[in-house]
């Protein structure tokens, strides 16, 4: 990344979006990618896609994917994927809105930004690029048993994630039942610019109280831990796929995920407010160093005369007390032999993490862990979308997808003191998604 002078107030870009969630993404994406079912022998099957994700007034992302798969004979399949994405924009810092303008220090310590009165503080313009590579090999092992193994690598400016996975799948009852078990191990390291903040340390804001630059820097450094930190994650997945009848199949999965290490988002803060609701200071958040998650997933695919109905339900629970329900449905309608449309509807609901607090009250004792990240709070979200696909005479396929995603954070039962009652502490996040894909 380019070097920027310390005194620049505008140029230093810092990524504030969910580094942690991105860390989780690298690991959890793994167990779903193995055990490729069928591929034509001898030819590379390739897919390319370009996705645009844009929130109103917040994060914008562009993501490109290229994947290739080849059957080397007798169901020995190799598949690989490369993904590159670029994020810009602003995301919520965790601080609460105020009736007057506020000044914040950027997480790198280099520069400040101002938030207008009544607005939810968004850590402003940052820019970051991520590159991801994965490779997977699947082959038959013994009669009716298949094995798969793969690696996954993800690199961003301030973090690196490496993961390996392995799984086995066995068929029973003339392949009407398939049982699979998978294991994935991931190791992530994070080294954010400016160092990771000390838990609950106050954000140092230069409002002229420092004699010189060195004094400010010393005060800022006092709130930082200089070393890198890491996180290891173990994922286990057990699944059963069952053919119900000629038109329908179902899948049931149980997933267990245990992660240990640095889970805190180094760029998120909490506002410490007094009984009038006015912010007195900002402190950096802190999350537990362990997390155990359980995941129950059920999916049905039903072959219609001219199309497919795909519905799934997922229930997740963890030891941070976050429980969630997800219903995802896609209905494909074949318009002709080579075109189709597919509406998509998804509904998601989660309960707040046990340590989630929208703000801290001045004078109350500090909790062990706290985060005001709305993504750990209570929320419902829904997605509605439409996809159109067409197969060309050459056999290659184009597809276009447009979706609308809205997140509605909710008050998880916190009384807002003073002026905070007049402000919207839980603004909705609205995003448009557009994607073009080509399979050849």
């Amino acid at each position: 990344m380019q070097l920027i002078s310390k005194n620049s107030l505008t140029n230093k870009m810092r990524k504030t979006a969910n580094v942690n969630a991105a860390l989780a993404a690298a690991t959890c994406a793994l167990l779903g990618t193995s055990a490729v079912v069928q591929a034509d022998e001898g030819v590379w099957e390739m897919d390319a896609a370009l996705l645009y994700y844009g929130e109103t007034e917040r994060v914008t992302a562009v993501e490109g994917v290229f994947s290739a798969k080849k059957n080397f004979g007798d169901e020995h399949v190799f598949s690989t994927k490369i993904t590159a994405d670029s994020l810009t924009g602003a995301s919520a810092s965790g601080a609460v809105a105020q009736p007057n303008a506020q000044t914040y220090t950027r997480p790198s310590g280099k520069g400040q930004y101002v938030v207008a009165a009544g607005e939810v503080p968004l850590d402003d313009t940052f820019h970051d690029t991520r590159l991801q590579l994965e490779a997977q090999w699947t082959q038959p092992l013994w009669n009716d048993m298949r094995g798969s193994t793969g690696v996954h690598l993800s690199k961003e400016y301030d973090y690196l994630s490496i993961a390996v996975n392995g799984s086995l799948a066995k068929d029973f009852n003339q392949k009407n039942t398939t049982v699979s078990a998978g294991l994935s191990l991931a190791y992530d390291t994070i080294d954010p610019e400016g160092g990771r903040p000390v838990a609950f340390s106050e954000m140092v804001i230069d409002e002229g109280q420092f004699a010189n630059e060195e004094a400010y820097q010393a005060a800022f450094d006092a709130t930082r831990q200089k070393d890198t930190d890491d996180k290891t994650t173990v994922d286990l997945m057990f699944g059963v796929t069952q053919i119900i009848n000629r038109r329908m199949l179902m899948q049931f999965n149980y997933g267990l995920s245990m992660s240990d290490g640095y889970h805190t988002d180094p760029f998120k803060v909490l506002s410490v407010v007094n009984d009038q609701g006015l912010t007195q200071s900002l402190v950096h958040e802190d999350r537990p160093t362990q997390r155990t998650r359980h995941n129950f997933y059920w999916q049905t695919k039903y072959a219609l005369d001219s199309g497919v109905a795909d519905i799934s339900y997922r229930y997740a629970t963890d030891d941070w007390d976050i429980n969630s329900h997800t219903i995802d449905s896609r209905f494909r309608f074949n318009l002709s032999d080579n075109t189709y449309i597919q509406p998509h509807f998804r509904y998601y609901q989660q309960s707040a993490a046990e340590f989630y607090q929208p703000f801290l009250l001045e004078g109350s004792s500090l909790p062990t862990f706290a985060s005001a990240d709305y993504r750990l709070g209570e929320m419902t979200a829904y997605t509605i979308g439409l996809k159109y696909g067409m197969t060309m005479p050459s056999g290659n396929e184009w597809a276009f997808r447009v979706e609308y995603y809205q997140q509605d954070p909710k008050n998880a039962g916190f009384d807002a003191p003073g002026v905070l009652q007049q402000l919207d502490l839980y603004p909705s996040v609205k995003a448009m998604i557009a994607q073009v894909s080509y399979s050849f």
Partner: protein, 74 residues
């Protein structure tokens, strides 16, 4: 404590499903299941992109696997 019991119960229920030996079709009746759009990984790219978005914006991740179904050949 109740949460742990719920987890174990849900897990045990899912393991009982391995015993559904009377469900299913004959090997030659898998024509509809063999269609590409009926494969569990038929829209792998879309699912991967969506999963990335939802991991980043929500607190839950994962769930899917892709083994099974399809034409059942070989």
């Amino acid at each position: 404590m109740f949460k742990k019991a719920r987890v174990i119960l849900a897990f045990l229920i899912s393991t009982q499903l391995v015993g559904c030996a009377n469900l299913g079709v004959q090997p030659w009746e898998r024509d509809l299941l063999a269609k590409e759009e009926m494969a569990l990984d038929s829209e792998g790219i879309d699912l991967g992109l969506d999963d990335h978005i939802y991991f980043s914006k929500e607190a839950t991740s994962g769930g899917r696997a892709f083994a099974g179904g399809g034409c059942g050949c070989n």
